[in-house]
Amino acid sequence: MEADRLRRSGSDRVLLGVCGGLGEALGVDPVLVRLGFALGVPLGGIGVAAYVMTAVLMTGPPPGARIRPVPGRRQQVAGLGVLLVAALLALGVSGLLLPLDVLAASALLLVGLGLAWRQAATASARGDGPGWARPLLLDGLRAVTAIVLLIGGAVLFLRQGGDVTAAAASTVAAAVAAAGIGLLVGPRLRRAQAVASAERRERIRTEERASMAARLHDSVLQTLALIQRADDARGAQGLARRQERELRAWLYGGEEPDAPDTFAAALRHATEDVETRYDVAVELVQPSDAPLDADLDALVSAAREALTNAAKHAGTATVSVLARVSDHEASVFVRDRGRGFELARVPRDRAGVRESIVGRMARHGGRAAIHTAPGAGTEVELFLPRGDRP
């Protein structure tokens, strides 16, 4: 990325190394670039402003680069300066030079614009890599300078008052110069940004891998170690089951929010809760799903009650649950092969079955059926019509 940045040249420089750097980056003889800027000078002196703006936009020569000392090119600089002044004078005399106030205004605007752009570019390309610990003070200074220059330029324009042609001329000149420089510098800035964002993506991937490794270590490996040491098979089974559930939820369910928003998620939630609380395994089959609404929520609550009853009273290690939902109907079957009971002998005041299951389903327009007999297990069937929904 560093190599890709547009830099002023340290070795091939006459003034600031702008033309040398541009030539190197574009693969053009720097002399041609210099010629281009020189041609810009007669065009109302805009070449000078463009040179300054580009100088501001480019970063300095790479650290450690051999820098051609000023004394070695003193003659060149002096000669160039004389030429420049002479050209400006000649332009002024022949009336080709833009009025000084217009020139100054556009120069200020151009340089201010350049500063502001560079500010934005470095801020967005910086990312958070350690290599970019640039002093905040310098950033602030640059921002303030940019604003001052922009405001100064604008004020100068306003002070001209009424000289529309001059203002238009300088605006057009500034726009042309800015567009030209944008064409030169823009693609490189874009490329630098693309490199930075690729690096950021790679970093995110690495972090994800690390977090997955940490997660597997914290959960799966610890549980496996525990299981190897656990003496009772039932305890080990419980551990394994809980771990499997957690891992599954993490792998396929994403990080689940506290309130599940679909029927299947809500039922799975309820099932897991009962499993951990009563140490039973629930074989949950739910091939279809739908967004949770108040009626489906009631269905889940009734199913949870049925599950809890099975876990508490049936005396078996496993309970089977089938949940289906379509546009017309939702149904849940909770079945155990436990000891069962005689339905008629359930006391009237027992709220569990009568209120939490049968009553709740009825209130939501559904129904519940309970099949059981002593020794034959229990099955609770819950149905909820969903046909004529608004």
Binding site: R248, V285, S320, R324, S326
Partner: protein, 215 residues
């Protein structure tokens, strides 16, 4: 009754899982070979000609269906059961449509797996509750098939009853008792459903499966 000895090959890329599976199978099942890849499994099965192959849905060098495809033509007598831990329904269905006679989850109890192997070796089909629930919904979804569709694309009411009870966790025996049918009849119904699952052209089967995951 004299229970015949069944010769079984296990194809799964996890060695620990194969070892655990082998340990729990009991005296009526003999594991004659093991493989961890499609490449190793195909020649092994062809040379051993076992009764039943326990086949992982996912293998490092391809799906389980690749094994079935390569063996089926030459050894039509070998029967396959798909085993999976948590796979996309699409992959499970691919193995079954390639010719597997059934599907069970890897958490199945050893005694139940032994029973499954015998059932498969006898030519029956075995559906886990998940597979039954899936098929029920896949054949149910959307509009009823167009008039031109054959009987392959539809389940009979009786088949629906059987599948629904399977999905609810009933054994064949319990289903037979509840529907007042013989176990043999239930087996026939399940085999017919398997045939439909393998041969039906219903778009829903793949479209539906693509969205879901079997546990």
């Amino acid at each position: 009754m004299n229970v015949p000895l069944r010769r079984v090959v296990i194809v799964d890329d996890h060695e620990i899982f194969r070892a655990g599976l082998k340990a729990g199978l009991g005296p009526t099942v003999q594991v004659v070979g093991e493989a961890g890849t499609v490449e190793a499994a195909v020649p092994l099965i062809k040379s051993l000609d076992p009764d039943v192959v326990l086949l992982d849905v996912h293998l490092p060098d391809g799906g389980g269906h690749a094994v079935i495809g390569a063996v089926h033509g030459e050894r039509p007598g070998v029967k396959f059961v798909a085993l999976s831990v948590s796979d996309a329904a699409e992959d499970v269905v691919a193995v079954i449509r390639a010719g597997a006679r059934g599907y069970v989850t890897k958490t199945i109890a050893p005694a139940e797996l032994t029973q499954t192997i015998h059932r498969i070796a006898d030519g029956d089909a075995v559906f886990s509750p998940w597979l039954a629930g899936f098929v029920l919904d896949a054949f149910n979804e959307g509009d009823p098939p167009a008039a031109g569709d054959g009987e392959l694309d539809r389940l009979t009411p009786r088949e629906r009853d059987v599948l629904l009870l399977l999905a609810r966790g009933y054994t064949y025996k319990e289903i037979a008792a509840r529907l007042h049918l013989s176990v043999k009849t239930i087996e026939t119904h399940v085999s017919n459903v398997l045939r439909k699952l393998q041969l039906s052209n219903r778009n829903e089967l793949t479209r539906w499966a693509a969205k879901r995951r079997m546990v």
